[in-house]
């Protein structure tokens, strides 16, 4: 798939990620495409992860899980969650081509995070769909 995002859309997406996720306590969030490219990322300024490697692995991981879903007769698993001792990762698919990945500590409950991620996904989807339609 080929797509282009303008400065305006990228600004819009980053603002949504900042306000809806980082400002409520998420450590790091990034929006990637299924090829592993980073479209937007925000963090709380306190951590420095290698986001390019994370994006490549996340796209691969999601692709592998989608292939597993097909084998067992599911269309897809639209969200994934990896739990750690201190850090957790949550993946949520947006339309067919994009993934929203959030990294958060145990200070935030999974339920609250999922609520915020759902809201964010709806907003980001609108921006991305306007791009795809244009």
């Amino acid at each position: 798939m080929s797509y282009t995002l303008g400065q305006e859309q990228l600004d819009g997406i980053e603002e949504i990620l900042q306000r809806d996720l980082i400002d409520v306590g998420v450590r790091c969030v990034f929006l990637i495409d299924m090829a592993g490219n980073i479209i937007a990322n925000r963090d709380n300024g306190k951590i420095k992860h290698d986001v390019y490697s994370l994006a490549a692995l996340a796209a691969g991981n999601f692709g592998a899980v989608s292939a597993m879903a097909k084998i067992i007769g599911e269309g897809e698993f639209s969200l994934l969650f990896h739990k750690g001792k201190k850090e957790n990762i949550h993946f949520n698919k947006i339309i067919t081509e994009f993934l929203l990945i959030t990294i958060f500590s145990n200070d935030i409950s999974l339920g609250f995070l999922r609520l915020k991620v759902n809201e964010t996904v709806e907003k980001v989807k609108q921006v991305l769909e306007s791009v795809q339609a244009s």
Binding site: S2, T4, L5, G6, Q7, L10, D11, E14, D33, M34, A35, G36, N37, I38, I39, D50, Y52, S53, A56, L57, A59, G60, G63, A64, A67
Partner: protein
């Protein structure tokens, strides 16, 4: 296609090393990682099995500086070469911008090279891409083995087998010693960048 970020003035380019199993794709990336370690800020990511074979992919991000005012981030990937891992191979090809086909110059691997190139063609078709349109460079790896008396395929034979229709650049190389590894990479980067710039016009 490469992702262009007008806000950060950045382009992310995906280059995949493809080819038959045990052909030297990972060794290519390892050589590049060592050679340019001062310029590569992050660790090379590899997902291997216990037998040291690539299970999923290797990943090496690499900054080459600015082109037309944009920071170019080259992302080098390898695929697992073993026939049984086709599903993961196909996943890694998603969104590919340029391909290095690493063929094995050992005479006994002739058939494997041809099959792997056919497999690449099929997997690209899955993304509605053609092996004749995506920038691709051929590398005939393991030429150093001739010193040990191991029978190698003549370059002409490999060209006939793999490059008679592609008609692209090809390099005899040794990923282990580094011969032509950097040349191969430079060639695919320049071809891929030219294709991207052309597409963005």
């Amino acid at each position: 296609m490469a992702f262009v970020n007008p806000k950060k003035k950045e382009v992310q380019v995906k280059i995949v090393y493809y080819g038959p199993g045990r052909g030297g794709k990972t060794t290519n990336l390892e050589y590049i990682y060592q050679k340019f370690s001062s310029r590569i800020k992050t660790e090379m990511v590899t997902i291997k099995t216990h037998g040291d074979r690539t299970l999923f992919f290797d990943f090496l991000p690499f900054d080459i500086g600015k082109v037309n005012g944009y920071d170019v981030k080259i992302q080098l990937y390898t695929v697992p070469g073993q026939v049984k891992y086709n599903a993961t191979r196909r996943l890694v090809l998603r969104g590919v911008d340029g391909i290095v086909f690493v063929a094995d110059a050992m005479a006994v691997r002739r058939e494997k090279n041809i099959l792997s190139l056919k497999n690449l063609q099929q997997n690209l078709a899955n993304y509605k891409k053609s092996v004749f349109k995506v920038p691709i460079v051929l590398q005939y790896n393991k030429v150093d083995l001739s010193e040990q008396g191991i029978p190698l395929l003549p370059i002409e034979t490999m060209d006939k087998d793999l490059n008679s229709r592609l008609k692209t650049a090809s390099f005899p190389a040794s990923a282990l010693t580094g011969t032509n590894v950097v040349m191969t990479m430079k060639k695919i980067i320049s071809m891929t960048m030219a294709a991207i710039i052309n597409e963005l016009k």
